[in-house]
Amino acid sequence: MSLLTHILGWPLLAALVLAFVPRNFRFLTRLVALAATFTSAALAVVMFVKFDTDAATDFQFVQILPWVKSLGISYHVGVDGLNVGLVLMGALVSFAACCCAWEIKEREKEFYILLLVMTGGILGAFASLDVFFLYFFHELALVPAFIMIGVWGRGEEKDYATFKITLYLSLGALLALIGLLALYLQMPEDKRTFDLVAMTAHFRAQGMDGSAQQFIFPLLLFGFGILVSLWPFHTWAPLAYGAAPTATAMLHAGVLKKFGLYGLIRIALPMMPEGAAMWMNCLALLCLGNILYCGLVAMKQKDLNLLIGNSSVAHMGFVFLGIASLNVLGITGAVLVMIAHGLLAALSFALSGYLYQQTKTLEMEKLGGLLRQMPFFGAALVMAAMAGCGLPGFANFAGEALIFFGAWTEFRVVTVIAAWGALVIGAVYMLRAVRSVLHGPLPQEWHVAKDVTTPWRRLPFALLLGALLLFGFFPALLTRKIEPVVKQIVKDARAVLKPAITAGVKN
């Protein structure tokens, strides 16, 4: 069996095993979940190291098991340069999220089962090379997220948040589904298959009818866009992350949310270059909604979780900008930011979740001076804030820099505004958070707050920070894998884009 099948299979298998573990065996429950996610993460590291960078455009660690032959559905997994980093990031975050799930005290067994199913779904979605399974795994991950927020969530708005995220994401997934089916139907009848590789090859060779692209591309753009909180479809995100249990917020904001972006890059761009060329100007404007508008909204938040949630929405704007620029620099940067932001969002929510356990509030006006009481936590939060405002040394910087260089040649004004959003607005809200949570005098009531002391508790934070720093210092570890794949996509898109420019579609 392929390494990839192991990576996504262990969590699912563990979920099945847990179903048979009595509910009062709490230690065993945790142990099984941790062991499974740890195995996944370790195997993902092995896969990342073994990945042959020189053949980054080829799919590696492939496994194909035909399933429904008449419809052309098969279990097909594999990684190329585009998703190898995403799978690694997903597996690392899953393990970290599992470590952070100790805060759950009620109905632990069910929680861990859902967490493991979500993990398996996420990893499956990023590893699948079959459109059916890609979608199936995404839904497999999405549904547990709704349940976890509804049952184990916190705060007064929990029910409303569950309701909202469910409606929004179901809508997004539905639009994407229509788009994907439409793609399937665009194949000639005798060749119809859900196999992503075959579909891409077919459309690359034959091209798709321009009018069909006009219709299908926006379905995928907005369908996937809603899943990634594209402005103005973003209001579910801060609310849901504010209400979600820590591990769920980490997994969703960190990894699952990137699925929509991955879908755009993996499916929409290569198959419909004309549609892409047509919609990219629109996307470049919408991304300002994320970067500028949501950044400004983040400045006004009084609750730490809402601030992080809004900032995570704002960061998605950079990825959209990278995609919109449709060049090697921009899209490579976009994928790099997806990975970096996945690690960072998970880290941020892990930190805010830990803080909530200590203080039972995340209202920043009530907090303060905690750096003295919690030096490890404080140092990690400062680092997360700095990574969030794009400080060099963290992977986010390399990604955002590439996006700026890429976007500068395409959309100059948008880039200027985006740079203001990244350098100034981002710094304003991040430093405000640090100032009000960590700096200043320590109020009497928080003398009870405890730092993260045991190595076990520190592990998830250290793991995520370490990965952010590693890819920040050596971004080429990722870009050398991503770039060849992106080059291929861009080459195809640019080939159709050139006539479009002369026709005056894009000026």
Partner: protein, 611 residues
């Protein structure tokens, strides 16, 4: 050891020290301090070695050692090391002054609660600063540019429990970020126009084809890059963060906010001097001149010993930037170097005073310290005289170059520079008279005693440098690499410079030699409060930000809460629920109601059809 490896050691030793302290020696203060000091002193020793080895040779191909950092598409970011006379001398200045201040810090900070955090941040700063000095391309410089911003943030906020310090570090970082915004755009513009970010390649491209970057685009690119300098070197209009940065520990003020980091802007301008058009240089010169003047005026009415020095730093940085703008990068670097020595010395002297007086910083509560702190006083006086440009101290030579440069190029700026020289002497001797030689104004003085040797030796070391730096040919070395500027008449400049000193000294002596309180506010309270409140720049900026970015943020937040999430989303939800409720009213389950509705419907239908 291989020569090529030396610069890497110089650069990475401090980072290694910072990492080891952060990970392993948090609890052991002495070990942390020792590690940090050892790293910087070794870097200094290696820099000297490198300097001696390379000083005779012309450096053929300085960037022989490049690492590929990020090569994507048509963007090639290498991690390179640029070694020429400019970076070699700057290495010496940074590591030399840095060593003195690290050692001094051990004495100054030994009672602090977080010595390890302090030294880790200080080492991180050294790494970042050395990175700027050695950077071979724009992106690499930008990376370290941001990192010095971070270390400055951490060190200003060292005493984060004090709200003033917590606000100051935030302000410093954000103001710098505004400058960096322009810097980044400038880099993007240069890259998209000239196709490279590498300093050497850019210089070659422009030399081969001067038309590649011309006219408005070139001026824009130059001024955008200058924005980075405006932020980091605290030039008008982004000067507001530097005085507040004095909330950090005094050695930090000496190292970062006087000698090295704030000079990074000037260093960067010299490094990419070939990019600037005459128009851009004119703007740069005036910005420098305005900063020098404004800051000197503000310094006249400050009472906090560190703030006086901070404004003085601003003013001197203005001189340097003006010198660059007047086409004399060599003179700017010369003044940067001498200024690093005597301004670090002034700050360390102030630190010694503050240490002796148990953290008293108001000069009107000092007085009569000359007898109590002899080493501090005499070294402080040497530095003051150097700052005022008194021969034969180093400041005299470098300041004279700038005055002569202005005289030859731009008489208006020469007048500004000469007036600033008067003010400089005036506010510095106000400080010396009130704090050191004048009558004692509080009890604190009686218990004061000289600082320990670990603090006084760095003072003496820097005092020696201040004295000799004018004679060891630093100016010629800079002129070799940056070109000899076109000076005006030196003798005229010297006469103006010395008269400025005498006028300032006389005025200060008249007003402050025996003063117990400041006579200026009594004579002209409006002028005094205008100067004391720094021309109300902080208030003005607070208003501007409140009216623009904050107002936008409030509007966006309101819109998000009430329109997008409220009206649109909840509205759609509400409409659905309302429809549901209305439909439920119809579904009563009562047969008679259904029959009634049915009959009504039939009647209406018949009416419509048969009408």
């Amino acid at each position: 050891m291989n020569d090529n490896a030396l610069p890497w050691f110089i650069l990475f030793l401090p980072l290694a020290a910072a990492a080891v302290i952060a990970l392993f020696t948090q609890r052991n203060k002495t070990a942390s301090a020792a590690l940090s000091i050892a790293a910087v002193v070794t870097s200094f020793a290696l820099s000297v070695t490198l300097f001696v080895k390379l000083s005779g040779e012309t450096l053929p191909n300085p960037e022989t050692f490049n690492l590929r950092w990020l090569h994507v598409g048509n963007l090639y970011v290498d991690f390179g090391i640029k070694l020429d006379q400019l970076s070699l001398l700057m290495l010496l200045v940074v590591t030399g002054v840095g060593s003195a201040i690290h050692i001094y810090s051990y004495g100054y900070m030994h009672e602090d609660r977080a010595v390890s955090r302090y030294f880790a941040s200080l080492s991180l700063f050294m790494f970042s600063m050395l990175g700027i000095v050695l950077a071979a391309n724009f992106v690499q410089m930008f990376i370290f540019w941001e990192l010095v911003g971070l270390s400055s943030y951490l060190l200003i906020g060292h005493w984060y429990e004090r709200p003033s310090a917590a606000e100051a570090c935030k302000k410093a970082f954000l103001t710098n970020r505004v400058g960096d915004f322009g810097f980044l755009l400038g880099i993007l513009l240069v890259w998209s126009t000239l196709g490279s970010i590498n300093f050497a390649t850019l210089a070659d491209t422009l030399k081969a084809n001067p038309a590649a970057l011309l006219g408005a685009a070139a001026t824009t690119a130059g001024l955008l890059i200058f924005c980075g300098c405006v932020g980091k070197s605290a030039q008008f209009p982004l000067h507001v963060w530097l005085p507040d940065a004095m909330e950090g520990p005094t050695p930090v003020s000496a190292l970062i906010h006087a000698a090295t980091m704030v000079a990074a802007g000037v260093y960067m301008l010299c490094r990419v001097f070939f990019l600037f058009t005459p128009d851009a240089l004119t703007v740069i010169a005036w910005i420098g001149g305005i900063t020098a003047l404004l800051a000197a005026l503000m310094a006249v009415q400050q009472n906090d010993i560190k703030r006086i020095l901070a404004y003085s730093t601003l003013s001197q940085l203005g001189y340097m930037v003006m010198a660059v703008g007047l086409g004399g990068p060599a003179s700017a670097m010369y003044h940067l170097t001498t200024h690093a020595f005597f301004k670090a010395l002034l700050f360390l002297g102030a630190g010694s005073v503050i240490h002796a007086l148990h953290h008293e910083q108001d000069i009107w509560k000092m007085g009569g310290l000359k007898a109590k702190l002899p080493i501090t006083f005499w070294t402080f006086l040497v530095a003051t005289l150097a700052l005022c440009g008194v021969p034969p101290l180093s400041g005299y030579f470098s300041k004279d170059e700038i005055l002569a440069l202005a005289l030859g190029k731009n008489q208006a700026l020469f007048a500004v520079a000469a007036f600033v020289a008067v003010l400089t002497t005036f506010y510095m001797f106000r400080l010396v008279f009130v704090a050191f030689t004048g009558p004692a104004k509080s009890q604190a003085r009686d218990h004061a005693h000289e600082s320990p040797a670990v603090m006084t030796w760095p003072l003496i070391f820097l005092a020696v440098l201040t004295v000799v730096a004018g004679f060891i040919g630093i100016d010629e070395r800079y002129a070799d690499v940056l070109g000899k500027p076109a000076f005006g008449n030196h003798n005229v400049a010297v006469i103006f410079g010395l008269s400025a000193f005498l006028i300032g000294l006389f005025a200060a002596w008249k007003l402050y030699a025996n003063a117990l309180s400041d006579p200026i506010p009594a004579a002209s309270s409006r002028l005094a409060s205008l100067l004391r409140n720094k021309f109300y720049f902080d208030e003005l900026y607070a208003k501007i930000i409140a009216c623009t970015q904050e107002a936008l943020a409030t509007a966006a937040d309101w819109f998000d809460r009430w329109i997008i999430a409220g009206l649109a989303v909840r509205g759609a939800q509400g409409a659905t629920e309302l429809t549901g409720m209305a439909l439920r009213l119809l579904q009563t389950g009562n047969l008679q109601t259904y029959a009634f509705l049915f009959v009504t419907g039939v009647v209406v239908l018949l009416y419509v059809v048969l009408r």
